[in-house]
Symmetry: C2
Subunit: 284 residues, 2 copies
């Protein structure tokens, strides 16, 4: 992004708000919208948003880059409302955790040429403008998914956008993306929530949970709205990932029920080996 660009960010939550903050810090003029008037006003009062867009989104007509940072379930609807105002946009992108449905919505609205789906692997269990902050995307792998008709200029601009935010763009096919993040993000979120539910049902409180358990439970605190939408949108891939997890869990159960220390050691060793190999990303 250069200072000549006008970027519009629709949705000023953790992700959209953090994008706006980083862009504003770099001197980019940012127009913004949020359905929560208090969040929109706060972003304006903080000097992050130079222009507040109206609910009609007509103001998007002045933007060269448009970023939709709304929940996955709202993206098609917001894209539809925005579509007729996107004539000047070189790049239209979203930030959702699923990409197949976002691309399908863009294509069906005739936005395939300017659309690139984005998915930054950043954020935490918090949400909303109050959780947004500068530097959120520093070093974050960020998936970019093009439609069959995405223009090269749009993809170049998407890469530049994320690199300017400190992220590491990775271009990937939308199907491959949705399959992959089902394993690396969506199923683990369900797992963390399932762990919290198991503790809750066993009448165990948070007191006495150690650092390992704490890590496993952190993302169970994530927004139910956001994660319901993501799981519903990627249900089949997530079911496959849960099935794969169950296979491994059953190996532990079998070894435990047979008091088979050798098998347990083999499982832990294999898991540790994968984790050590993956250590550039995991051990931070």
């Amino acid at each position: 992004m250069s200072e000549r660009d006008t970027v519009a960010v629709v949705g000023l939550g953790l992700i959209g708000g953090s994008i706006a903050r980083d862009l504003a810090a770099r001197g980019v003029r940012v127009a913004g919208f949020d359905a929560d008037t208090a969040a929109l006003d706060a972003a304006y009062a903080d000097g992050i948003i130079a222009d507040r867009l109206e609910r009609s989104l007509a103001g998007l007509a002045g933007a060269t880059t448009v970023i939709l940072a709304v929940p996955v379930s709202a993206t098609p609807e917001v894209l539809q409302a925005a579509a007729k105002h996107l004539g000047n946009a070189t790049l239209v992108t979203d930030v959702g955790s699923t990409k197949r449905s976002a691309l399908a919505a863009a294509i069906s609205l005739g936005l395939g040429r300017s659309f690139v789906g984005s998915h930054p692997m950043a954020g935490d269990h918090r949400s909303g403008w109050s959780a947004s902050r500068t530097g959120l995307f520093s070093g974050a792998p960020t998936y970019l998914c093009a439609t069959p008709s995405t223009r090269a200029e749009a993809l170049v601009r998407a890469r530049e956008l994320w690199m300017s935010l400190g992220a590491r763009p990775v271009v990937i096919d939308a199907d491959a993306h949705d399959e992959r993040v089902a394993f690396t993000s969506h199923m683990p979120h369900a797992l963390s929530a399932a762990l919290a539910l198991a503790l809750s049902r066993a009448k165990i409180g948070g007191d006495g949970v150690g650092p390992g358990g704490r890590d496993m439970l952190r993302i169970a605190g994530s927004s139910p709205d956001m994660w319901t939408a993501i799981l519903a949108d990627n249900a089949d891939e997530i079911l496959s990932a849960v099935a794969a997890l169950r296979v491994e869990l059953e190996r532990f159960e079998q070894a435990l029920s047979q008091h088979d220390a050798r098998s347990l050691h083999g499982l832990f060793s294999e898991a540790q080996a994968w984790t050590l190999k993956a250590h550039v990303d995991i051990r931070t």
Copy 2:
């Protein structure tokens, strides 16, 4: 602990080494032993250990407090080797993640009066002297389990020991301890390892794993030796905990396969509610 006490630490890994560092920093004279001569020499060269004990552990006779910080599977054997030298010890304790078997070993060796089982909820996926550090136990919940014949003086001294390290002692029955940590620590470790195995089998590397996945995978990097011993020693309780987890996981699977967003939302909301309620301990 006062400066008049002599404390012996057998096993100078992450936990034992960190205890020795904190005690030495407070002016307590620490005698130490580790089967790894390099670790023992390093601890001595660093000035943390004032006396290196021999493999016979005869030097324990001079200690008023004896701390065994060896793997769970080695505790009975080391206790047995130490037993005949423990006549001067007011407190004998261990630091293992299971407590029933440690207490049973102490009782069978006639050490019930001076023994208190300890389990600090501290540490991470690393191990060994090189991973040890001061301040590891700051704020850490630390379970203390007395035998039926533990003298009050031993329990008081155990509390004082852990409080002097900055920990928060919690006295609990050994059975209740083993059941509880199966849910809060042991099963979650198996879960993290199972997740790593599922990713490994799906040919997914660490690249592109986001912050949530990273949290869920960190403890999969833990020592296979250590965790095999813990799981083998608490197999039945862990099997119950895994079964409880599977019940919750199946609720997610059912909701996903029926594309039932309402149920998914209910599950995530319940999980978040537990996590928020537990937030004093979880959200750090």
